[in-house]
């Protein structure tokens, strides 16, 4: 088996400003992409995986520096040293790319047909008519329904999955020898992700091309990759055939990556974290199983009845269009337990969370907290309950006020709710909480931008804890985090529940995470409740078709994937 691309000693640095030293993002990596095979480049954010891939086609920003010693050999040429004109004839023809965000990666002002035809006319020298015809064929091939009509659609008129299909059609238009797929499914819902992965796998086989698949999620790799390259901090930790990587990982980092992610088939008391592997003996601890589930006799702390939320949009001359976001949702949260709320984007799960905290006004329904309907309380009466239900948001970069120090962030809610005798007391409590969530005391004086994503999520958790809440709503709170960090934050949440008896409403699109942390799971779709059951129950015996579809879309990792014959 020959190699289509050989990367040797690739080093990439970025010049940030004139005065400081260039920042080295990739530190001398080497790997090959064999003909007609799929190579997965796996790594967490900041590992240099995307940068490495982009360097192949010279798509790096202007401030990138690549030393002369680095080479990327393709068909007898070094792509790093070839002329721009040469490179342009390779781009899109021999090597093509699909990106993470299909929405922004497509040009919004041209129809998808025009954009696909452009590449055909550019590289294949097709006439406009021939290109148009071929475009329809391509769209058919990537599974766009009614392609003859959709050619004339603009990108914004398509769904995210369809947009990604268009990107793929564009990428395969000239029968490339190598397709670089840069996190092509990260921005998509789990069901769509599955379809796109299948499509890429199918096209790889039918077009006899190689694929360089870049992802942070080891889970999706098992399904499609032949070879896996694991990167961390700009270096390759381990590379090898997919089977070896999954079954017999050598490097502790690889092991950790495999173990950190919650799995559908196991539920350890605490998730293994990366440090367990890196520092320890290479074997995960805490593997004893945790029991989950609820019983009817559990005391209920929060009960939601017939919750409705309708947004109204202005339309027409005087018209308003009513968009229901939550339709008649009822559930109850047992004290000290976790209720998982799963659904794809647009399912209304986040709206439920915001509405029952009164961050949105509900259209109708009741939210009974200790028997009191929170939705009927006046603003003043609500104050007393505010602190008892708290929320942790998805984006750790946006949920902390960037102009306040961590200390100010932590002390403010205590001041508002008159917790603590005096300022001194509050400061003391803030320090304790920082320690509790695993941050140094010096953090008190720092600003949010000095922390990593996981640390910020810890600060957000600490902020909630200052008010000693009873219920904590976690709105996609770990979704934006790397797997290794995700595990740490999940463990922290679990520890806090064990320690303080908190009740959680855990909102997420990630079924594996929900399965791991929840006692009871509620599935939502298009604003309505689809199914609700104890977590093990719902995963083992889904009753609704929608739930089954969701579950089947979860990347299973290597072992559950169909073995290559």
């Amino acid at each position: 088996m020959s190699n289509i691309l050989e990367i040797r000693d690739l080093r990439i640095a970025f010049r940030l400003d004139r005065k400081s030293e260039p920042f080295e993002a990739v530190k001398g990596i080497s790997f090959d992409i064999p003909t007609n095979s799929t190579v997965a480049l796996v790594g967490e954010s900041g590992s240099g995986k995307s940068v490495s891939a982009m360097s192949i086609l010279g798509l790096l920003p202007d401030n990138a520096i690549i030393p002369a010693a680095s080479t990327i050999r393709y068909g007898g040429r070094d792509l790093l040293k070839t002329t721009m004109r040469d490179l342009q004839s390779i781009r899109g023809k021999d090597i093509s790319v699909i990106f993470q965000e299909p929405m922004t990666s497509l040009n919004p002002v041209f129809t998808v047909g025009e954009q696909i035809a452009e590449v055909l006319r550019l590289h294949m020298g097709m006439s406009p008519r021939a290109a148009a015809a071929r475009t329809v064929e391509l769209l058919t091939e990537v599974g766009i329904p009614n392609p003859a009509l959709r050619v004339n659609s603009y990108p914004h008129e398509m769904s995210g999955g369809q947009q990604q299909r268009v990107m793929i059609a564009m990428a395969i238009a000239c029968e490339p020898k190598l397709l670089i797929a840069d996190e092509p499914t990260t921005a998509l819902d789990v069901t769509i992700q599955k379809q796109i992965l299948d499509l890429i796998a199918k096209l790889q086989a039918s077009h006899h091309m190689s694929v360089l698949f870049i992802t942070h999620d080891l889970g999706v790799v098992g399904d499609i990759a032949d070879t896996v390259v694991v990167m961390q901090s700009g270096e390759i930790r381990e590379q090898g055939p997919v089977k070896e990587i999954f079954e017999d990982p050598q490097h502790p980092y690889t092991k950790a990556l495999l173990a950190c992610r919650p799995r559908l088939d196991r539920r350890p008391v605490r998730l293994p974290v990366i440090d367990d592997f890196m520092r320890g003996d290479g074997h995960p601890h805490h593997l004893e199983e945790r029991k989950r589930g609820t019983s009817p006799s559990d005391p209920v702390i929060l009960e939601v009845k017939g919750l409705n939320k309708v947004f109204s949009l202005k339309e027409g001359l005087f018209g308003k269009r009513l968009v229901p976001a939550v339709k008649d949702v009822s559930f109850s949260l047992p004290k000290g337990k976790t209720l998982g709320l799963v659904g794809e984007s647009g399912s209304g799960k986040t709206t439920v969370g915001l509405t029952l905290m009164r961050l949105h006004d509900a259209t109708s329904g009741e939210v009974l907290f200790e028997g009191k309907d929170l939705l009927r309380l006046s603003e003043r009466e609500m104050m007393a309950y505010r602190r008892r239900i708290q929320i942790i948001f998805q984006n750790p970069y946006a949920s902390l006020n960037p102009r306040m120090t961590v200390g100010q962030i932590l002390v403010e809610p205590m001041k508002i709710h008159s917790i603590g005798k005096d300022e001194r007391d509050r400061v003391d409590m803030a320090f304790q909480l920082l320690k509790r969530v695993g941050l140094s005391e010096q953090s008190f004086y720092k600003y949010p931008h000095e922390f990593s994503g996981g640390q910020r999520q810890r600060i957000a958790i600490a902020r909630c804890l200052t008010m000693k809440p009873d219920v904590l709503i976690c709105d996609e709170s770990v979704s934006a985090l790397d797997v290794s960090v995700q595990a740490q934050v999940l463990n922290l949440l679990q520890d806090l529940q064990d320690e303080y008896g908190l009740s959680y409403i855990f909102i997420s699109h990630d079924l594996a995470v929900v399965k791991y942390i929840s006692d009871r799971v509620m599935v939502m779709s298009e604003g309505a409740l689809v199914e609700m059951a104890d977590s093990d129950e719902i995963y083992r015996h889904p009753r609704e078709e929608y739930t089954r579809k969701l579950l089947s879309s979860i990347p299973k990792g290597y072992e559950l994937a169909p073995q290559p014959s």
Binding site: K19, R387, F393, N401, E412, I416, Q432, F444, Y447, M467
Partner: protein
């Protein structure tokens, strides 16, 4: 949480940099920005020194002959000064008013007192360092004094416009609904009238009635009352964006009041927009003052601004007296250039994503 910490740990020796500090660090890296800042600071210092009377206090003194040449052009012919010199026709004896003058009884006392009051006639210089104006006043001192009004008008007008715009923008963006509708209506009304026309209309009215105060204050009011709309729009957009940000939702979740969310949480996060606007508007208003002065609105007669200097100088170029035009035009250009470059640098420093 039972463990009681007796002493909270001391803050670290090196203070943690806030966003403002970081922005300042970025600005310091920017050579153009720092040079501009220095120039702006120089002009501000000059303005303050002139305001407090440290320099250019007696700018109005007529030191030289009319249109005195600049020292470096000492040899040039000065027709204007010549025209003034030595013109006094012989006069017939004055008419006697003593028979009807109500002051006639005290004529004698008047003469005596008048004789005691000495007059000092100063010799007028033929040349001044950078020339003189038509009254023979030093153009350099006049330019310095002129900077006082121009910069004051620019800065305070911009400040007021930014305050109005920021406040209204915050209200509309944060509250939405009816408040937003009313303010948007205001905004639409103000922006549907072409800006120049709006200024002229306000200026005409301000001038006619004095209802916007006198002199410089009226210019400041005219400029800010017509100029707030741009800032309003920006701040409103920022507030709409930030109101939906999670940190604001989080603040609401912890029970922070609306006022606290608007001004304690959001305002510091959009204030850099206001700051950049402040700097941009100052530039715009310094330029606008010139036009208004040219049209004859505003600056009182016993004060001088770059605008009144340019208005005065508009006919001087043709008669070869270019220095007043140059002095006022160039000082303004230098300050405005520095201010504009500083604005760019500030924007880059405050919002590194924008490049």
């Amino acid at each position: 949480m039972s463990a009681v910490l007796t002493h909270p740990p001391a803050p670290p020796a090196q203070e943690s940099p806030g966003l403002w500090t970081l922005a300042w660090r970025r600005l310091r890296q920017d050579t153009v920005g720092m040079v501009s800042l220095a120039v702006v600071a120089f002009f501000l210092a000059m303005m303050l020194a002139s305001f407090t009377g440290l320099i250019a206090k007696d700018w109005a003194r007529e030191r030289g002959v009319s249109y005195a040449n600049p020292s470096f052009l000492a040899g040039n012919e000065n027709l204007e000064a010549k025209a003034m010199a030595g013109k006094q026709a012989a006069k017939a004896p004055p008419v006697d008013l003593s028979d009807i003058d109500p002051l006639a009884p005290r004529y004698k006392e008047w003469e005596e007192r008048a004789a005691k009051i000495a007059v000092t006639e100063t010799k007028r210089a033929e040349t001044l360092p950078f020339g003189g104006d038509k009254w023979g006043r030093d153009v350099i001192l006049k330019t310095i004094k002129g900077s006082e009004v121009s910069i004051f008008v620019g800065l305070s007008g911009a400040l007021l416009a930014v305050v109005i715009g920021t406040f209204l923008g915050a209200m509309a963006g944060y509250w939405g609904g009816k408040v937003n509708d009313v303010l948007e209506w205001f905004y639409n009304v103000f922006t549907s009238i072409p800006y120049i026309l709006l200024i002229l209309a306000f200026a005409a009215v301000a001038q006619a009635t004095g209802k916007f105060g006198k002199g410089i204050l009226s210019i400041v009011l005219i400029l800010s009352l017509t100029g707030w709309t741009g800032i309003y729009r920006l701040i409103r957009a920022e507030y709409i964006k930030h109101s939906n940000r999670e940190y604001v939702k989080a603040a609401q979740a912890i029970g922070a009041t609306n006022l606290s969310r608007m001004f304690h949480h959001i305002l510091p996060n959009v204030s850099h927009v206001s700051l950049v606007q402040l700097s941009q508007y100052t530039v715009g208003f310094i330029k606008a003052e010139v036009i208004l002065s040219f049209l004859g609105f505003g600056v009182p007669v016993d004060q001088v601004s770059w605008g009144t200097m340019l208005a005065e100088a508009q006919n001087e170029l043709v008669i070869g007296k270019w220095w007043q035009l140059f002095a006022a035009g160039a000082s303004m250009a230098v300050l405005v250039t520095a201010f504009s470059l500083l604005t760019d640098s500030l924007r880059d420093a405050l919002d590194p994503k924008l490049k």
